[in-house]
Symmetry: C2
Subunit: 200 residues, 2 copies
């Protein structure tokens, strides 16, 4: 790549460090950027720095937000008795898209991964427990991912929180809507069977 010059190589290398961006895509992106107007490049550079500057974590639920507390925690119309626990700020957005959840959130900022040495102390679990001590919250919905780490985290939370007299529920496992029974894995299908409900 020597023919493109040092500044270009540096940009390509930095872009290639972004998640999901391989060397080929990084090259295409860099090429695209330098063929844009300087104003557009500056716009993007500025937007990156501004977002980094302004965004922070809500001190109550640890969701990414420009405001602290975040808009959801500040919204008194939301059901203060339910907390939905998720691993990641992006999961809050996914839940909000359903427009079906009226309660609050708590972002763990990860999941328990014993093999990687990530224990409960690395997550925002003690902050969650602190939120439960006031007695306002009556249900914690554990919406960690349906994988080993998410399940481990869910089990841990359940054992920790249930003794506090707070109801702990787990989002349902089953076949995705629009999915195909034939292609479902056995574990999902078993869970789907176990979670069967009376048709009304």
């Amino acid at each position: 790549m020597a023919q493109w010059g040092e500044s270009m190589n540096r940009l390509i290398n930095l872009l290639a460090r972004l998640p999901g961006i391989g060397p080929k895509t990084a090259q295409r992106l860099a090429f695209h950027l330098i063929t844009q107007d300087m104003a557009q490049v500056q716009n993007l550079a500025k937007a990156m720095i501004e977002a980094k500057e302004r965004m922070g974590y809500c001190s109550i639920c640890f969701h990414l937000s420009e405001k602290d507390p975040c808009e959801i925690c500040q919204d008194s119309r939301r059901d203060q008795s339910t907390i939905c626990v998720v691993s990641d700020s992006r999961d809050v957005l996914a839940m909000e898209k359903t427009r079906e959840y009226p309660g609050l959130y708590h972002v763990l900022q990860g999941a328990i991964i014993p093999s990687a040495g990530i224990g409960p102390d690395r997550l925002r679990i003690k902050e969650l427990v602190a939120r439960l001590t006031t007695g306002t919250v009556t249900e914690v919905i554990v919406a960690t991912n349906p994988n080993i780490e998410g399940e481990t985290t869910a089990m841990y939370l359940s054992r920790l929180i249930k003794p506090m007299g707070v109801r702990v529920t787990r989002i349902a496992h089953g076949l995705p809507v629009g999915g195909d029974l034939e292609y479902a894995d056995e574990v999902t299908l078993t869970r789907s069977l176990m979670g069967r409900r009376e048709l009304s």
Copy 2:
């Protein structure tokens, strides 16, 4: 996405304008960026602006370069009698990777696309013709893409340059190495047949 704040939305929207980056990837990239250290974000922002500032087009061959003339045009060890014509600066890099081409380049910065109103005057064709008037160049290898636009451009260049007494060649069409005859399209296979060579 209202929950992530305005600065984040702006960043996501700008990222989603990059080629090959959809809204979902833009969100993932923005999320990744703001969870990095400020120094890293500033590094990337700076690299973008610096690359844009420093990179320009070589005034001889119109390849993207920090230097003018570019390193290839400045390299006296390269065969000055051959010019390989490509559509895009990225094609120069692809050719250079083969380490098999010792000559010079000329980047057209596009191809003739009549349906989009892109005629020969929009490309760096008159600059190519000017390079041929000195008599140093004896062969022009047309390495535009093997699609309709590339072929149209190749035909146009051939008709324009041959009368100047310069040999005009076209890179070979055929089956890609490692390809499968069974899955080759008819046109490629026909070209592959037509371009057959004596086995030594």
